[in-house]
Symmetry: D2
Amino acid sequence: MTIESGGTVKRERKIRLGMVGGGEGAFIGAVHRIAARLDDEYEFVAGALSSTPAKAKASGLALGLDADRIYTDFEAMAKAESQRDDGIEAVAIVTPNHMHAPAAQAFLKAGIHVICDKPLTTTLADAKKLKRLVESTGLVFGVTHNYTGYPMVRHARELVQRGVLGDLRVVQVQYAQDWLTESLEKSGQKQAAWRVDPKRSGAGGCIGDVGTHAFNLVDFITGLEVETLLADLHAFGPGRTLDDNTQILLRYKNGARGMLWASQVAPGNENNLSIRVYGSKGGLEWRQEEPNHLLYTPFGQPTQIIGRGTGAALASAARVSRVPAGHPEGYLEGFANIYTEVARAIRAYRNEGAKKGKTGRDKPVKLDPAIAFPTIDDGLKGVAFIEAAVKSSSKGGTWVKL
Amino acid sequence: MTIESGGTVKRERKIRLGMVGGGEGAFIGAVHRIAARLDDEYEFVAGALSSTPAKAKASGLALGLDADRIYTDFEAMAKAESQRDDGIEAVAIVTPNHMHAPAAQAFLKAGIHVICDKPLTTTLADAKKLKRLVESTGLVFGVTHNYTGYPMVRHARELVQRGVLGDLRVVQVQYAQDWLTESLEKSGQKQAAWRVDPKRSGAGGCIGDVGTHAFNLVDFITGLEVETLLADLHAFGPGRTLDDNTQILLRYKNGARGMLWASQVAPGNENNLSIRVYGSKGGLEWRQEEPNHLLYTPFGQPTQIIGRGTGAALASAARVSRVPAGHPEGYLEGFANIYTEVARAIRAYRNEGAKKGKTGRDKPVKLDPAIAFPTIDDGLKGVAFIEAAVKSSSKGGTWVKL
Amino acid sequence: MTIESGGTVKRERKIRLGMVGGGEGAFIGAVHRIAARLDDEYEFVAGALSSTPAKAKASGLALGLDADRIYTDFEAMAKAESQRDDGIEAVAIVTPNHMHAPAAQAFLKAGIHVICDKPLTTTLADAKKLKRLVESTGLVFGVTHNYTGYPMVRHARELVQRGVLGDLRVVQVQYAQDWLTESLEKSGQKQAAWRVDPKRSGAGGCIGDVGTHAFNLVDFITGLEVETLLADLHAFGPGRTLDDNTQILLRYKNGARGMLWASQVAPGNENNLSIRVYGSKGGLEWRQEEPNHLLYTPFGQPTQIIGRGTGAALASAARVSRVPAGHPEGYLEGFANIYTEVARAIRAYRNEGAKKGKTGRDKPVKLDPAIAFPTIDDGLKGVAFIEAAVKSSSKGGTWVKL
Amino acid sequence: MTIESGGTVKRERKIRLGMVGGGEGAFIGAVHRIAARLDDEYEFVAGALSSTPAKAKASGLALGLDADRIYTDFEAMAKAESQRDDGIEAVAIVTPNHMHAPAAQAFLKAGIHVICDKPLTTTLADAKKLKRLVESTGLVFGVTHNYTGYPMVRHARELVQRGVLGDLRVVQVQYAQDWLTESLEKSGQKQAAWRVDPKRSGAGGCIGDVGTHAFNLVDFITGLEVETLLADLHAFGPGRTLDDNTQILLRYKNGARGMLWASQVAPGNENNLSIRVYGSKGGLEWRQEEPNHLLYTPFGQPTQIIGRGTGAALASAARVSRVPAGHPEGYLEGFANIYTEVARAIRAYRNEGAKKGKTGRDKPVKLDPAIAFPTIDDGLKGVAFIEAAVKSSSKGGTWVKL
């Protein structure tokens, strides 16, 4: 329970937050709002929640926004909010993928910090451009590769960093779901519809929607650099043009080998993101659906079940836990950890700016190294991964550099 | 994701919430605050967070309270808040057990709704008195037997109510922890210290701290009425006067039989609350540490793993879920469900009062029957259970009526 | 894989084995035969497999017995076999409970070693009488409390004996099945019919059939002595006179507390024998349905999953394992371990007799202390447990001495 | 419990069995002997258990063989046994891989049925040659791809065959171990030494030792035909020339996609063979380490835990089970099922021969279609798989036809 800060002075004011996308019926918008609220670091005050004006309005009112801060256009919102004294300091972008880049640009240009859903953009070129913009502004930019927010993922990373597993050799990662087993997109289900549409999703289907999370999780925990990969993207759903099943082989620069499987057509899998990492001295396993425990095996000894919140949890895990062992934390808590770490970066930015008598935009603020939210760099890596995989697969499954 | 309400009118204002107890270092206070915040139904504005003035002040400031709403005395707080136009409408009482009754009385008398931690009181007489007071005021009174807030517990209850298990025959329930295996109370750990102290805990140790949750869970899911019980309460920790291990046999009015085990000295158990219910047609099992799945076995058929958020989840479970299947929800979400259901009761009270042009205190408001938060009656049952068990055990383990 | 012996001399001849009961359609008879065969220590050569002559004959032929060694009467069999040069040296008694005592007596009196199913007898008086007879003959007498044959049960016992758990405090044991949920005995199913019949089962139903196994398992692993117990035996099946659900509280002489639940009416439980033992320094858990792993938690440290066949398995477990880790062993292998240990005792008896120029019947042979098969003493304890529980329950559930 | 046959006539005599390889210290030889014994279908009477004469002799005596049937040379054994009236009818070949082909040839030519360990041979050419020989003799030839002997694997296969999963789309299979994480082969451990030696293992290391089992399991359950595969075989152990980690992508003729991972350097994995199969209507999952249960998910419904021995087990599973649900069966029982099915084929061969007044060698006997032991065809497929994977990998990981 280290998330709530203690002290003898009044708590600093909350960060004013806006949102683009996330109107009624959107799953991820509600998740972002809860995540922002959980640790009481943000105040949700403005939104362009839908591009349909009536829906934007209804959604905004239902969520308690003041009428004059409900927008139907993110450009207008960025402009208006940046001119208000009480304007938003940060914006969450939770639209379909193709809108991430333009929305992010608009807010960055208006001097507003950004929390963007993944994948960062629909093309690598856009991602690179966005990265340059972020760097030029010095603003905080978080990407919600939210699974890195789980305490036991942090624990796993720290184990690797401490060298406990020895030289890393093998990575097995998967992200399996079943919700697109049948042609849900033809039923009018909105979530399904945009995800199978290249115009809104980009060139990757399943690989962009969940494969990038799997890729990011490996990157976060192991720090391994991919040398080449080989992908077989396939669409099983009748009429689909984007992959709904993704199988990838990975070769890392240190000689390690990896397999990544992502699927949305695997009946019996709810949201089965799981990772196993093996090295010369030990192995570990973590499953997102039972996130409070990590299995760790020192070679030749019994497997240990390491519980979040126990004395055995490493410091990096303990600092992002809220409740004692055995009181399960879940998806929202992990997601909230990303939001809270971004908030700390924004507060550091505020303080730095205050010190310097200006906005501090000239260079990134220095953060506590323990803060580990995914940044523009992680977002960019994810898009590069998608592009490489699509390229490999479109050539029939050949090895390509990342 | 039915917790967020939709609509075309501006969301009603939040409920102003205060807290008694829950200052720095308290575990459950932070839990209540997060639970209140999760669905954005409450605004935390006042507190008597500690009886130590300096600590009350520091805690209040750190949590963002205004200085004039930080109190060191719950009587003063009840009085002052009831006289403010923007005074609190509800208070959360999260002190050690012996303070529950006096604090609850003070706020009820000031016309303020109460959310009280469990066990309700330290004596049955106090609990009965409090119940009469609640009834005379018509105010909303919730008791945080929070485990009833888990979606799959709601599902289990609905299965039983639908008769799917047939006639209930056997109940096995346990709540096992290990944190008092060694004499933690002698180390200065505050949580342990008051729990082993009869002056602050009441006559029950482990049975009050966790046994009541187990008892309540059976009551909530099965609706079975206890006829007699037989208890063997035992203290293993050197020097302890209150039980740290509790073993109970139960006979229900319909002929069913039950066993309840609660322990705080069982190494390897983090917060292992688990229940199994067996009837003439089927059985079910639920484990708090993996709360997103319920095992249900129709006799003679394969066991089914029923997932929260899936199409198989019954209505009563679906309405208290926030995220899709496979995105695990945990302890805080279940706790928040209690808060949000209490909020709905308070809003109904508000509206009823508005309609009648008065406060509505004369009789309880009518609630949507799906709302199922634990009330004063559940709190009272829990205290009756403790008293009966202590009585049985003190007689050497004899059958006593409940 | 230490079961097969190595060496440079020809293996000693197998032990000639007979069987009483276990004809066609009997479950446990086939189990005994496989168990005897697994390690190639026995040769099955004679049987009184049924009291119905035609069935005895057919069963014997089908199992490959010579016609002149197929009996319909165990008295005749004991007499005839004891007079043959190639007569059986040991007999397995696998009849319904009420025949255990008379059959065992007949073979002991004929100088033949006995392996008897549990419960040993239907009355404590019979059990005591049988014990005296066994002692007077010096013959080997094994009781198939077979669950003690599992390697990880041996491991658990060794952990306790080494003091790794500290002072034992709490035992939770259960043996739950569901096959008598409906009135199977009314359908003509033979296994069910005799088990619910007091004439053939004795005074205990579920408690004798599976409860004794649970009791024996605690006894074997912990060595704790029961001071008093309190039992609530109940019959849920319409018309049943014997219990089908058994709930028992136990107080041990060292102050430890126990709960034992046995049931045959718990839908979803196949053969769910599970034990948990907690002490001042650690805890352990073992589940018969996944017998190859034991959970061990040193207090304050992560739970360890200890695998049969791994380097972490203690000597007492390793010596009764056959295949490497991850190649699951099961029920038959555990059962076979009892048979093989009895075989070692019989061989020791043979050798001792050879040395002394006589049969060695005057006193028990000395065994390797690692040999741990259940003996007449364990059988007797089991019957005493049943009698005490029936007595307690028939008095309405009172504390009785064991 | 359908393995033991019933009837009113005396059981037919056992099949006389010999063994090549499997002397002291060999793991798999002991397994074969137990498997042969479990259902009492074989009598072990002759062996060439080691190529070292002293060891062959000692091993033979220790196992109870008569001195004149202990051989040090399989050619001599084949010749001598084929000339005895009581000569062996079948031989088990359990040597390192490179000896499989010559030994099998010798016995086939001597008119003796063969049970051969896997991989069948070290080259595809040898495998094809052996297949021709088997066909020309009409003898029974079983290959111990033993994992197909598990009841719930049979159940899985029947589910697929009944079309319950719909069109098959995705297969994920793995066989992970950790015993070669360190350089065990340098410690003098014999099992490790020959497995990493291309002279004795052939061109595949891990892929031959365990990868073929995984491949065979997919083949057995799904019947899918591979079109192309792409393999990345890698050796992590210092100085190893054969792979200890194997990652393969598979494309099936029906369009399905597969991934196969085999490893012997994955700490924490004992013998983790697991398979998941997904189709348009449902999915299934089976794990060898907990073989008594199969997970089956009809799309959109709860996952079912199907237990071996329960009423839900399909006929093909029930016929190879011995004990009731909840009494776990394991590796040896599954292995024994292969032996017992081979025995049925040999008995059919005997009877056919008897009918025809000759040996019946002219054409294969007709078997009950439920009998499903792996044959020479399955052995050959396994070798073809190894060759294709080695070829693919040696080209840097390209798609090759199978």
